[in-house]
Each structure stands twice: as C-alpha cells, then as structure tokens.
Symmetry: C3
Subunit: 272 residues, 3 copies
C-alpha cells in the first residue's frame, strides 16, 4: 500500500516537473532548493505581467501568502486562473490566515477565484479558513489550537468538502483528507519547527509531487509529507544534536537522498 506513495519519488525524478512558485522572500531559497532536491525544477517569479504566461506552461503552481502584497495577490489570482484553464494543479499555502484582515481578505479572494488542488496549512490557518473559531499567532499555530488529531481530521475533511480539494494540516501528526479518506502521518521531528520554512518546503514538495502525478493529488500530497517527515527524522539523527544550522543542512541532504526504499521502510501512516 505504501508503494503508491514511494513510487511517486521515481516519477518526480523522471518527469522533472516545472514547479512555478509565487511565494515569500523569507524561505524562497529553501523552497527552490528543496524542489531541486526532490528532482523537480523550480521557477520563482511574481510579476503580474508574466504570471499567467508562466503558470499555463508549468507542471504545478504553488501559491504561498508568506510576505503578501497587492502585486503578488494579483499575480496569484491571474496565475491561478491560468493554471486552472490548463489543468495545472494549484497548491495553496495560506500563511498567517486568521492573523490580519489583509491576509483574510486575500485568502478569501484566492479561494473564491482559483480552484485549488491542494491546500496545506497549520491547524490555526486551516481552522480559520474552514470558518471554525481559531487564534492564529503570527505564522505559527497557536498553542490553543495545537493539535488534537481527531479534531484536525474533522477540520481537514470539512474544508476539503467545502473547497473540493485535498486539504493537508501539518503538525506533530500530519492529517490529509480528500473529503472521503483521512490519512494520518506520524513521521517528523519537533526540531522541524525550529527552522523557518519547513511548512513552505512541504508545500513546494506537494507541488513537485502533484506536478509529476496530477491525477493522484491525495497520494502526491501524502508522499510529499512523508518525504519531509522522514527527512526530518534522518536529519535529527545525523545532526540534530549540533544545533539548528547543522539540522537544516542535514534536512536538505536527506530530501536530496530520499529513496523509495527509505520511504517504504520508515513511513508511519494510517488511514481512517
């Protein structure tokens, strides 16, 4: 059963999908490098003058609200529509949704105008978008939202049905739902939350896998989160004790060395 996820690693390397990102300037370098590490090809660009042109010839589009501004929103909407028109999967990372009126309005506009393939966020962000009371603190999940896994499953499923897309909530346990199934991933390491951009990198990996397997969005999303979770474990074992800098290097190493076998051996997931 796990082969349906691990096989996708080979597919990414074979297809080398072009993953177009409109993303924040904080973690963009990590996103580009993690996209390369898994075998895909990143392109980052945010000008409204070219975003639609790029989206329709890409294999996947990743929209990340990290450092939002008016110009980027315009580009997100136009690239999203262009991707929709060309059946290019769209991954949305609603960074900080629930934290400012500007972010809330922008997220609402994207949900309204773009048909998403996958939405990935932390529990606070997804809860907010599902219209369930939440309390976002900055760009991290708030303590009070922290994750009762059953609860996260309900939130993921609810939003999945609302938006008719795959929804992934990442945290101590990752939860992915397509509105029917719910899949739980127990890989990962707490140290991942000590680095900026591990959430964004998850979204880039989701984009990479969806770009390679646009007809298997649920499986692609799970494969991406398994990759990041397992890479986090490997990185911790190898270098965590040395500190955050070494852990980050080891994380990029682990993603670039991720094999089907490693994923098969280490995946801890169950379905409900």
């Amino acid at each position: 059963m796990i082969e349906q996820y691990s096989n996708l690693i080979k597919l990414v390397c074979e297809k080398k999908p072009l993953v177009y990102h409109i993303t924040n300037y904080v973690t963009v370098n990590d996103c580009a490098n993690i996209t390369l590490a898994i075998g895909a090809s990143p392109i980052m660009a945010d000008a409204p003058e070219e975003s639609a042109d790029i989206a329709c010839v890409s294999s996947a589009l990743v929209l990340n609200m990290g450092t939002l501004n008016e110009s980027a929103i315009a580009s997100m909407v136009s690239s999203g529509k262009s991707a929709n028109g060309s059946c290019v999967p769209v991954v949305f990372d609603p960074v900080g949704a629930g934290f400012s009126a500007f972010r809330n309005k922008s997220a609402a506009r994207i949900l309204n105008e773009v048909k998403l393939s996958v939405l990935r966020g932390n529990i606070s962000e997804v809860r907010f978008l599902a219209g369930i009371q939440s309390e976002t603190k900055g760009v991290d999940a708030s303590e009070s939202d922290l994750q009762n896994t059953n609860d996260a499953a309900i939130v993921a499923k609810t939003l999945s049905l609302q938006l008719n897309c795959v929804v992934a909530i990442t945290g101590a346990v990752d939860v992915v739902s397509d509105g029917k199934k719910v899949i739980y991933i127990k890989n990962g390491h707490p140290m991942l939350s000590n680095l900026t951009g591990t959430g964004c990198m998850c979204s880039s990996l989701i984009g990479s896998f969806c770009g390679a397997a646009p007809d298997k969005l649920l499986e692609a999303t799970v494969a991406a989160l398994l990759t990041m979770g397992i890479a986090g474990e490997i990185a911790y074992d190898k270098a965590g004790i040395n500190g955050n800098g070494s852990f980050k290097v080891a994380l990029h190493d682990a993603v670039s060395c991720m094999s089907m076998d490693t994923l098969l051996e280490r995946a801890k997931l169950y379905e409900a």
Copy 2:
C-alpha cells in the same frame, strides 16, 4: 553582574516573544532562523495594509533598511507608530545610512516619526545619524571610520541622548549606551564580517531579547550582542578553518545551543 544578561536567555525561551520584522530580502532567512534559534518567534511581512495590525500585537518590532523601497518605508512608519501606541519595543537598523540621499531621507523620517527603543548600526551609520562626519561605503563601515573604541563610545552616547533610546555600535568591540552608561563587549570574531547579515542578525536578536524584557532595553541589547559575539567565537573554533559556509552553519548552531552558562563563562564586557 553578568547574570543580569545571561538570565535573559531563559526569559526569551519562556516567553517566546513574537518578533515582527520589516527587513531586507537579502538576509531575511538568516534573521528568521536566528530568531527561532534563540527561542523567539519571527514574523516577516511588509505590506502597508497589515503592518500596523501586526505591530501592535507583537512583542517587538525590528525595522531594517537593507533593501529599502517606498512601500517598506510606509510600512515601517505605520508599524512603528502602532508599536509605539502599544508599548511594543522598536529596534531600528539603519543599513547604509549615509550612503545615499534616499537612505538618509528615509532614516530621518523614521527617527522623526517613530520613537525607538534601540538603534543598532556600524560606526559609519551611527556616526552619520549622530550628525558627525562620516564616510559610509556600501553597507559596511568605512576604513576611515574603523573603530577607535573611545570614539565609538562618544558617538553612541551622543546619539543615545539625542534620540532617548539605547544605541549599539557593533564592530571589533561592540559599544552600547543608554546615554548614561557605556558598555563594551569584546566578544566576537573577525570572520563574522565575512558573512552577510551578521549585523542584521544582531538586530533580530536584540528584538528577541527586548521582546522578552521590554523593561530592560539596555540589558536586552547587551545580552543579544554577547550571544552573537560568543556564538561567533564558538563557530570559529568549531568550523572557521573550513571556510565561510561551515562557519555560517556553526554560527546558527551556536546561537541555538547558547546557554546561560556559556554566556556567563565567556562574556568579556566592561562598563565605563
């Protein structure tokens, strides 16, 4: 006496202050990661539409002029005023002040419209802002300004009295003044100047410590500079010989592993 600084490390980890940055896109990833490494929580965002909303619910605000533009200046001013209204400490890093008319005008506007808690810069930048003749070369201190420590103390004290805030001049010896006391920090390593962003990261650490201890701005600033200086020494010992890449990794490691004991043992500071 050094306990008053080292104790603040524990406080940052306990309070996990939200440190809002409006900063440059060159070193922003390092700033976010160093903020996490010391135990605080970074948020980076620069849209004028949300900057005031974010600032007033943050624990500290860091304004960094590195890659300045009109929109960021508007956000700096509105977030600064919002922070002032909510007693949120404001740290200002006047990158490149003295180097272009645009930077000079922008720095003047911020000094004029925002009440600062701490200003940190290199000797050329601070000298310029204090109205003392200087010669900024790019974003680094000019040779001719390079640092007669006594002179730096006078500059720091002068600007501190002018602005009624803590002023820190970082260099071979760091000098911090609140207009009364002057504290000298002799930790650090020349290799820190071979990396981009070590100044910016100092400002992020100052924001992190001030966010945890807003009633102890002088102590928070000193604790931040001790942390960076000592981390630089540890990083050099561990990896400096390998080159700049390894040194950077070891620097992030050392900040993330910084303990009260290490700071107590290694701090080299005196007061005048």
Copy 3:
C-alpha cells in the same frame, strides 16, 4: 598563461571592490555571501530612488533578471546608465530570457539602453538573445539546447560581436568569448545544477573580478568561472556524497578558501 587568471584572485582581495547587485530575491543571500567569500564587498538594493547614485560609486554592477518586476527594470536601466557614465563595468544575467514576453521585452530594453561589459547566461538564454532559435524551459537550459560545445562557441561569439561585450555561456563546459578569442573551461561538477543560484553566483563572481580588473574583462570572466567550477569540484569531493545541503556549504567553503595555487593546479581551460 593561467597566471593571468589566478593573479586576479589576489587583486580582488586587495581592492575589495564594491559590487552593486540588482538581483532576484531567490538567490540574493548566496550572491552576497559568494561575493564576500571571494573578497569583494556586496551591496544589494533595488529602489529606483537610489540605484543611479549607488551604481556610479560602485566598482561593478550586476543586473540579474531572476524575479523581475517593473520597478526593478527601471532601477536596472537607471543604474546601468549611471554605471556606463562612470566607466563602472556592468554584468548582465538575463535569467529566463526566452521564457516569457515580459522577460524578452525587459532584456531587450536593457540591451538597448545599457552598454554591457559582460553577459552571462545558459545556452538557451544566450541563444535567444542572439536571435537564434531556442526553447527556454523555466530558468534552466532546455534539453534540446544542451550543449554542443562548438555550437555554444558560435553563439557566444555571435552575441559578443553584436553587443560588443564579453559573453559567457555556462554549462557542462563553460564558453567565454570577447568576439575574437573563445575560451573553454572544463571545470565544474554536474551537482552544481542541483542547487539554485549557481548561475547567479557565477555572475556575482564575474562582477567581483571585473570590479577588481575593469580593464581585463575577458580574463576576469574566465577567472570567475574557473573559481566556481573548481569550487564545485572541491565541494563534490568533500561533501557531495552527503547530499545537496552539505554540497552547498562546501561550495561556499571552497570559494572562500580559493587560492591562486589551487586555481593554477586545477584549471582546465583551452583557447580556440
């Protein structure tokens, strides 16, 4: 003969040229750090209000189209003209030329309004600018363009004569021409293409060397590409097996430790 290149390493360290970049936010941190690693001094800034002021007091100007927008183009043109007026060498990196109408128009405007010293791109980008049929895929060279070295030499020479500047095409074999000579560099490692920004870093190194030796543009360009190629080999030997993260660290290490002797020993270049 190779001394004419290796000697320039010493010159960069002695002159510490100020290298002004208007570049993308994806790889800007790597560009700043690689500029420091070779001994030059980077400044990154993109506001139209100050770009001309900074360019004319810099030692070199690097224009990189990675994440293009209208404001950056205006700054590129004004800084380029200012650099031209002050005999400051201008290096142009036409990232993604051929991939969108917006990029094509912007590249054409820069070629039209700014006199370049060096243009560096991959074969697809340079081919497009030379008016030879091409097929750009994102920001990487397309498979179909991949490099028949003889062909690249013709393309480089053609564009060099059109623009009256040095043209460098980087790839498995780097090709540099000033319209008369063609120089081939066989250093490097395939793993360099697994990291984002190695092309951008080449352009930063070219800017650093040209800033130190503005009267030797061809030699400076070759020295820069030798540095990156040899650093890639050293990095692979030291850390490639560990994965992309370690390779990136080792690459920065190797550039920062590059010596005239290493360059002399390892350079693999020939002229035609």
